[in-house]
Protein backbone atom coordinates (compact mmCIF):
# COMPACT_ATOMS: atom_id res chain seq x y z
CA UNK A 1 0.00 0.00 0.00
CA UNK A 2 1.38 3.37 -0.91
CA UNK A 3 0.06 6.52 0.60
CA UNK A 4 1.24 9.79 -0.90
CA UNK A 5 2.80 12.39 1.36
CA UNK A 6 0.12 14.80 0.29
CA UNK A 7 -2.67 12.38 1.25
CA UNK A 8 -1.26 11.77 4.69
CA UNK A 9 -0.88 15.41 5.63
CA UNK A 10 -3.44 16.91 3.23
CA UNK A 11 -6.35 17.67 5.53
CA UNK A 12 -4.42 19.53 8.18
CA UNK A 13 -2.22 21.39 5.70
CA UNK A 14 -5.34 22.79 4.06
CA UNK A 15 -6.98 23.41 7.43
CA UNK A 16 -3.92 25.35 8.55
CA UNK A 17 -3.99 27.61 5.49
CA UNK A 18 -7.67 28.37 5.99
CA UNK A 19 -7.32 28.87 9.75
CA UNK A 20 -4.51 31.37 9.21
CA UNK A 21 -6.60 33.21 6.67
CA UNK A 22 -9.59 33.30 9.00
CA UNK A 23 -7.41 34.56 11.85
CA UNK A 24 -6.27 37.48 9.71
CA UNK A 25 -9.83 38.37 8.71
CA UNK A 26 -11.03 38.25 12.32
CA UNK A 27 -8.04 40.37 13.37
CA UNK A 28 -9.01 42.92 10.70
CA UNK A 29 -12.52 42.99 12.14
CA UNK A 30 -11.18 43.59 15.64
CA UNK A 31 -8.87 46.33 14.34
CA UNK A 32 -11.88 48.08 12.81
CA UNK A 33 -14.09 47.87 15.91
CA UNK A 34 -14.42 51.67 16.11
CA UNK A 35 -14.59 52.60 12.42
CA UNK A 36 -17.97 53.95 11.29
CA UNK A 37 -19.66 51.98 8.49
CA UNK A 38 -17.21 49.09 8.64
CA UNK A 39 -18.84 45.74 7.82
CA UNK A 40 -17.37 42.68 9.56
CA UNK A 41 -16.29 39.85 7.24
CA UNK A 42 -15.89 36.13 7.72
CA UNK A 43 -16.13 32.89 5.75
CA UNK A 44 -17.63 29.45 6.26
CA UNK A 45 -14.66 27.32 7.26
CA UNK A 46 -16.35 23.95 6.71
CA UNK A 47 -17.54 24.85 3.22
CA UNK A 48 -14.11 26.16 2.23
CA UNK A 49 -12.35 23.10 3.62
CA UNK A 50 -14.60 20.64 1.80
CA UNK A 51 -14.12 22.68 -1.36
CA UNK A 52 -10.36 22.46 -0.87
CA UNK A 53 -10.45 18.72 -0.15
CA UNK A 54 -12.84 17.85 -2.95
CA UNK A 55 -11.68 16.78 -6.38
CA UNK A 56 -11.16 19.29 -9.12
CA UNK A 57 -10.99 22.97 -8.45
CA UNK A 58 -9.61 25.73 -10.63
CA UNK A 59 -5.97 24.68 -10.21
CA UNK A 60 -6.28 20.98 -11.07
CA UNK A 61 -5.05 19.93 -14.47
CA UNK A 62 -5.72 16.20 -14.22
CA UNK A 63 -8.70 14.24 -12.84
CA UNK A 64 -6.71 12.75 -9.97
CA UNK A 65 -5.59 16.10 -8.56
CA UNK A 66 -6.75 17.24 -5.18
CA UNK A 67 -7.77 20.84 -4.73
CA UNK A 68 -5.74 23.11 -2.50
CA UNK A 69 -6.97 25.56 0.08
CA UNK A 70 -7.18 28.94 -1.57
CA UNK A 71 -6.83 32.23 0.19
CA UNK A 72 -9.45 33.94 -1.99
CA UNK A 73 -12.44 31.88 -0.88
CA UNK A 74 -15.99 33.08 -0.54
CA UNK A 75 -16.05 35.93 1.95
CA UNK A 76 -19.34 36.92 3.53
CA UNK A 77 -20.58 39.69 5.76
CA UNK A 78 -21.46 39.10 9.39
CA UNK A 79 -25.08 39.70 10.39
CA UNK A 80 -24.96 41.69 13.65
CA UNK A 81 -27.06 40.70 16.67
CA UNK A 82 -27.84 44.34 17.44
CA UNK A 83 -27.24 47.08 14.89
CA UNK A 84 -25.13 50.10 15.75
CA UNK A 85 -26.08 53.67 14.82
CA UNK A 86 -22.76 54.32 13.07
CA UNK A 87 -23.25 51.40 10.65
CA UNK A 88 -20.43 49.33 12.16
CA UNK A 89 -21.27 45.62 12.35
CA UNK A 90 -18.32 44.51 14.50
CA UNK A 91 -19.44 42.98 17.79
CA UNK A 92 -16.34 42.47 19.88
CA UNK A 93 -17.79 39.55 21.86
CA UNK A 94 -18.62 37.63 18.68
CA UNK A 95 -15.31 38.41 17.01
CA UNK A 96 -13.18 37.59 20.03
CA UNK A 97 -15.01 34.33 20.61
CA UNK A 98 -14.55 33.35 16.97
CA UNK A 99 -10.91 34.37 17.14
CA UNK A 100 -10.31 32.31 20.29
CA UNK A 101 -11.93 29.26 18.72
CA UNK A 102 -9.99 29.73 15.50
CA UNK A 103 -6.71 30.00 17.40
CA UNK A 104 -7.39 26.81 19.34
CA UNK A 105 -8.28 24.90 16.19
CA UNK A 106 -5.19 26.25 14.43
CA UNK A 107 -3.06 24.93 17.29
CA UNK A 108 -4.85 21.58 17.10
CA UNK A 109 -4.17 21.26 13.38
CA UNK A 110 -0.58 22.33 13.88
CA UNK A 111 -0.08 19.78 16.64
CA UNK A 112 -1.60 16.96 14.58
CA UNK A 113 0.53 17.96 11.61
CA UNK A 114 3.64 17.94 13.80
CA UNK A 115 2.82 14.46 15.08
CA UNK A 116 2.25 13.25 11.54
CA UNK A 117 5.57 14.66 10.39
CA UNK A 118 7.52 13.23 13.30
CA UNK A 119 5.82 9.87 12.66
CA UNK A 120 7.01 9.99 9.06
CA UNK A 121 10.49 11.00 10.23
CA UNK A 122 10.60 8.00 12.57
CA UNK A 123 9.57 5.75 9.69
CA UNK A 124 12.23 7.26 7.41
CA UNK A 125 15.04 6.95 9.94
CA UNK A 126 13.94 3.49 11.08
CA UNK A 127 15.26 4.08 14.57
Amino acid sequence: MTVGFRDSIGLHANALILRERRGEILASNIANAATPNFKARDFDFDAELSRAMGPGGPDSTAPGHLGTARADGQLGYRVPVTTALDGNTVELATEQMAFAENTLRYQTSLQLLNRRISGLMTAIKGE
Binding site: L16, E20, R21, G23, E24, I25, L26, A27, S28, I30, A31, N32, A33, A34, T35, P36, N37, F38, R41, F43, A71, D72, L75, L92, Q96, F99, T103, Y106, Q107, L110, L113, N114, I117, S118, M121
Partner: protein, 136 residues
Protein backbone atom coordinates in the same frame (compact mmCIF):
# COMPACT_ATOMS: atom_id res chain seq x y z
CA UNK B 1 0.80 54.78 1.80
CA UNK B 2 1.95 51.33 0.72
CA UNK B 3 -0.50 48.44 0.40
CA UNK B 4 -1.45 46.23 3.34
CA UNK B 5 0.34 42.93 2.83
CA UNK B 6 0.37 41.15 6.16
CA UNK B 7 -1.47 41.18 9.43
CA UNK B 8 1.39 43.24 10.86
CA UNK B 9 0.51 46.13 8.55
CA UNK B 10 -3.08 45.87 9.77
CA UNK B 11 -1.93 45.92 13.38
CA UNK B 12 0.56 48.75 13.03
CA UNK B 13 -1.94 51.11 11.43
CA UNK B 14 -4.83 50.19 13.71
CA UNK B 15 -2.64 50.72 16.77
CA UNK B 16 -1.39 54.07 15.56
CA UNK B 17 -4.98 55.15 14.86
CA UNK B 18 -5.93 54.33 18.45
CA UNK B 19 -2.81 56.17 19.59
CA UNK B 20 -3.92 59.31 17.73
CA UNK B 21 -7.24 58.98 19.49
CA UNK B 22 -5.50 58.75 22.87
CA UNK B 23 -3.42 61.81 22.03
CA UNK B 24 -6.47 63.88 21.13
CA UNK B 25 -8.09 62.86 24.43
CA UNK B 26 -4.93 63.93 26.25
CA UNK B 27 -4.88 67.34 24.59
CA UNK B 28 -8.62 67.79 25.17
CA UNK B 29 -8.24 67.05 28.87
CA UNK B 30 -5.17 69.28 29.10
CA UNK B 31 -7.18 72.15 27.65
CA UNK B 32 -10.36 71.45 29.63
CA UNK B 33 -9.94 74.31 32.07
CA UNK B 34 -8.68 77.00 29.72
CA UNK B 35 -10.56 80.20 28.95
CA UNK B 36 -10.34 82.67 26.06
CA UNK B 37 -11.44 86.27 25.58
CA UNK B 38 -13.51 85.61 22.47
CA UNK B 39 -15.94 82.90 21.41
CA UNK B 40 -13.80 82.07 18.36
CA UNK B 41 -10.57 81.64 20.30
CA UNK B 42 -12.04 79.23 22.84
CA UNK B 43 -10.77 75.66 22.66
CA UNK B 44 -13.10 73.02 21.27
CA UNK B 45 -12.61 69.28 21.74
CA UNK B 46 -10.66 67.45 19.01
CA UNK B 47 -11.77 64.11 17.58
CA UNK B 48 -10.06 61.85 15.05
CA UNK B 49 -12.19 60.54 12.18
CA UNK B 50 -11.59 56.85 11.54
CA UNK B 51 -11.90 55.30 8.12
CA UNK B 52 -11.34 51.77 6.85
CA UNK B 53 -8.44 51.06 4.54
CA UNK B 54 -8.80 47.85 2.53
CA UNK B 55 -5.88 45.79 1.26
CA UNK B 56 -5.71 45.97 -2.52
CA UNK B 57 -4.08 42.62 -3.09
CA UNK B 58 -5.89 40.50 -0.50
CA UNK B 59 -9.61 40.51 0.09
CA UNK B 60 -10.71 40.57 3.70
CA UNK B 61 -7.67 42.35 5.16
CA UNK B 62 -8.48 45.84 6.28
CA UNK B 63 -7.25 48.31 8.84
CA UNK B 64 -8.16 51.62 10.44
CA UNK B 65 -6.69 54.94 9.43
CA UNK B 66 -7.25 58.41 10.79
CA UNK B 67 -8.48 60.41 7.81
CA UNK B 68 -8.56 63.74 9.67
CA UNK B 69 -8.76 65.28 13.11
CA UNK B 70 -11.75 67.59 13.49
CA UNK B 71 -12.70 70.19 16.06
CA UNK B 72 -16.17 69.45 17.43
CA UNK B 73 -18.75 72.10 16.66
CA UNK B 74 -19.68 72.98 20.22
CA UNK B 75 -20.53 76.23 21.87
CA UNK B 76 -18.03 77.35 24.53
CA UNK B 77 -19.60 78.34 27.83
CA UNK B 78 -19.75 82.08 28.49
CA UNK B 79 -18.75 82.85 32.07
CA UNK B 80 -18.95 86.14 33.96
CA UNK B 81 -15.45 86.70 35.40
CA UNK B 82 -14.88 90.45 35.55
CA UNK B 83 -11.65 90.02 37.54
CA UNK B 84 -10.10 87.63 35.00
CA UNK B 85 -7.23 89.14 32.99
CA UNK B 86 -8.59 87.65 29.75
CA UNK B 87 -12.13 88.98 30.29
CA UNK B 88 -13.66 91.03 27.48
CA UNK B 89 -15.02 94.54 28.00
CA UNK B 90 -18.30 93.21 29.47
CA UNK B 91 -16.40 90.97 31.93
CA UNK B 92 -17.02 87.64 30.18
CA UNK B 93 -14.62 84.80 29.35
CA UNK B 94 -15.27 81.77 27.14
CA UNK B 95 -14.46 78.37 28.66
CA UNK B 96 -13.14 75.50 26.56
CA UNK B 97 -15.93 73.27 25.14
CA UNK B 98 -14.65 70.01 26.60
CA UNK B 99 -16.80 67.49 28.41
CA UNK B 100 -14.48 65.72 30.86
CA UNK B 101 -16.69 62.66 31.39
CA UNK B 102 -17.02 62.14 27.66
CA UNK B 103 -13.25 62.34 27.27
CA UNK B 104 -12.74 59.76 30.01
CA UNK B 105 -15.11 57.35 28.25
CA UNK B 106 -13.27 57.98 24.98
CA UNK B 107 -9.96 57.30 26.69
CA UNK B 108 -11.11 54.01 28.21
CA UNK B 109 -12.57 52.86 24.88
CA UNK B 110 -9.44 53.76 22.95
CA UNK B 111 -7.19 51.97 25.41
CA UNK B 112 -9.37 48.84 25.43
CA UNK B 113 -9.38 48.70 21.67
CA UNK B 114 -5.63 49.20 21.59
CA UNK B 115 -5.30 46.24 23.96
CA UNK B 116 -7.68 44.09 21.90
CA UNK B 117 -5.77 44.69 18.69
CA UNK B 118 -2.41 44.14 20.36
CA UNK B 119 -3.58 40.90 22.00
CA UNK B 120 -4.94 39.60 18.69
CA UNK B 121 -1.71 40.47 16.97
CA UNK B 122 0.51 38.81 19.53
CA UNK B 123 -1.62 35.65 19.36
CA UNK B 124 -1.20 35.48 15.59
CA UNK B 125 2.51 36.18 15.93
CA UNK B 126 2.89 33.31 18.41
CA UNK B 127 1.04 30.98 16.03
CA UNK B 128 3.35 31.98 13.19
CA UNK B 129 6.41 31.40 15.35
CA UNK B 130 5.18 27.94 16.25
CA UNK B 131 4.41 27.13 12.64
CA UNK B 132 7.93 28.07 11.60
CA UNK B 133 9.22 25.35 13.93
CA UNK B 134 6.94 22.72 12.45
CA UNK B 135 8.45 19.24 12.16
CA UNK B 136 11.42 19.87 14.43
Amino acid sequence: MSDIKTIFDVGARALSAQMVRMNTVASNLANAGTVASTREDAFRALRPVFETEFAKAREGLSTTNVSEVVMLDREPERLYRPDHPAADKDGFVYAAAVNTEEEMVEMVEASRQYQNTLETLSTLRALMARTVQMGS
